[in-house]
Subunit: 154 residues, 2 copies
């Protein structure tokens, strides 16, 4: 199913909170309380984000977690990568032809790969700063995007 | 994980074969053989595609399955819908706020919904006909797409 993991969704919710005061250091307990998410889940997500160098962990009395770089330089693609690995719409995009026993008879894997590129590029262009701001209710340019994608892959 | 179901991948592989001779009627056995996919899997997929009115099933000696409409009028979004339901990147896009117990403290669901719209629109613009043709190796316009998406959602 074309769906992000719940943990990825939670990660963007946590990071959007941190992005409001990006110089601050945040404790797992405070973030957990503010987002009403279970503390063990938040701790696990924070560790994954540190491992992926989206966050930095600071030790000591004034320790905590902070953004590793400005919110506008953290893409949603990077957050997805940190929590659930590479964006790969099909098994063969991640694992190559060896990942699918039917690849020798498949005529569409190359095109799925093109669509994957479009998604990857789109998610690289949306930053944590974009995600943290309330967006206007209507985006007239969205409707036209489909046609541009069509042009790109046909 | 941001990945289509295997069955959706198989469905596009089967449909791309049917789109080459869209007037023909195809048996499940023949499609299964040509794509080297297990017959029960192919049968199940074909039934789902009939239910979603992507395919038509014909009875009788010259029976079989055929495309319900021209390949250029069948979008990849429709195929995804037929096999795995609506495109919904997060639980709350599909089920509303009631689907997530943390929705009251979430600041990003609206923006995920915007990104979902972009994906939906993109997949509506890619037709089965597009998927059935070999695509050129390079798509210079793909790189620029990310910036256009950013403009659309920020």
């Amino acid at each position: 199913m074309l769906r992000i993991n719940r943990e990825t969704d939670y990660a963007t919710a946590i990071l959007s909170l941190m992005a409001r005061q990006p110089q601050e250091r945040y404790s797992a307990a405070w973030l957990s309380s503010k987002r009403s998410l279970p503390a063990p889940v938040v701790s696990k997500i924070l560790k994954q984000l540190v491992r992926a160098e989206v966050l930095v962990s600071h030790r000591g009395a004034k320790g905590g977690y902070s953004l590793a770089r400005p919110a506008e330089d953290i893409s949603i693609a990077a957050v997805i990568n940190a929590i659930e690995g590479p964006i790969a719409l099909t098994d063969c995009i991640e694992g190559g032809n060896a990942a699918c026993q039917y690849s020798a008879h498949c005529a569409v894997s190359h095109n799925w790969s093109r669509i994957n590129d479009v998604f990857q590029t789109a998610l690289e262009a949306v930053s944590l700063k974009d995600m943290s701001a309330p967006l206007p209710a209507e985006h007239p340019s969205l409707r036209a995007l489909g046609e541009r994608v069509k042009t790109a892959v046909s």
